[in-house]
Symmetry: C2
Subunit: 189 residues, 2 copies
């Protein structure tokens, strides 16, 4: 990544790609997108974000205080390990067509119940206090997945509130799935 | 964690608990175990390990070089987000009794195929070079899960080799599920 513009292999709809796009936008890193239709699962997204954080520390995506950093990472991991892998495409493809939506809603609801409780103790304007962090990069794409799978978000007022505040920020807008080079015309906004 | 001995809420069999126990042993942190039979899912384990790394930096569990750190985190996340959540108890309980083993083997094999390829490029004695890292803390408990679900490890020579080297280290032995306060007598060793 030292020489030339970094390349992001990205899929417009992938919540993992979106997390990284938000980080790149927040850190004002210019990059080229190479769209890939098949998105590899796993948690590589957090490793990329941690790498960006270490090599481009401004603006920071992790608080300075170790306990707050731990909260940020705990929330990120709750989403990136505890929710997203259980509802991603390759897992849903294992389910029968008729069980997919029910399964996705079940695992997202179970995760959001835990997340809502945590956020009630940690949130300010955003997931942890009033500073945008790695946890926020994980939250917004996961809420979009929940909406896609028609999860009723009424029981999660804190999640909804934070999500709304974040979607007002430019980094979350330019990185949105509806505005990527590989977004099909009918999904553009 | 400043005042008094830290308490680890631990389940002898949980691979997430084991990862943390290895970190505590490597960093020579004395702690009390409070056994909990119901282990909460999610990825909090990595947040705890990152927290330990930041507050007790010696010996380090992340390399100094940002690219190597990224590799370590990528491997850790591949296991902690890409494999473990798909085969943990709460997911298996969703499957019918007759499908459990097949599902667990399928997701572990799919993850180990990816992992074996990565490790062939990064491994020395351990997952990344010759220094024990966070990735190794994730590897050993995951291999134990694979053995528990009777996954054939023949196609993964690098994984097997690293696992064997790590199990020779004291930190991996004292933290082993067969030696915990809540290990039932018939599983002790």
């Amino acid at each position: 990544m030292q020489a030339g513009k970094p390349i992001l292999y990205s899929y417009f709809r992938s919540s993992c790609s979106w997390r990284v796009r938000i980080a790149l936008a927040l850190k004002s890193i210019d990059y080229e997108t190479v769209p890939v239709n098949l998105v590899k699962d796993g948690g590589q997204q957090l490793a990329i974000i941690e790498y960006l954080e270490e090599t481009r520390p401004t603006p920071r995506l992790l608080p300075l205080d170790p306990k707050k950093r731990c909260l940020v990472r705990m929330i990120s991991d709750l989403i990136a390990s505890g929710i997203q892998p259980l509802q991603n495409l390759s897992v849903l493809q294992q389910m029968g067509q008729e069980n997919r939506l029910t399964w996705a809603q079940k695992v997202i609801n179970s995760g959001f119940n835990a997340l809502e409780q945590v956020l009630q103790n940690t949130a300010g304007k955003y997931c942890v206090g009033d500073e945008v962090s790695m946890a926020d990069l994980c939250l917004v794409p996961q809420v979009a997945n929940a909406e896609r799978y028609k999860v009723d978000l009424t029981p999660y007022p804190t999640i909804r509130h934070i999500n709304k505040s974040l979607l007002a920020l430019e980094a979350f807008q330019v990185s949105h799935p509806c505005r990527q080079p590989d977004t099909p015309p009918e999904l553009r906004a």
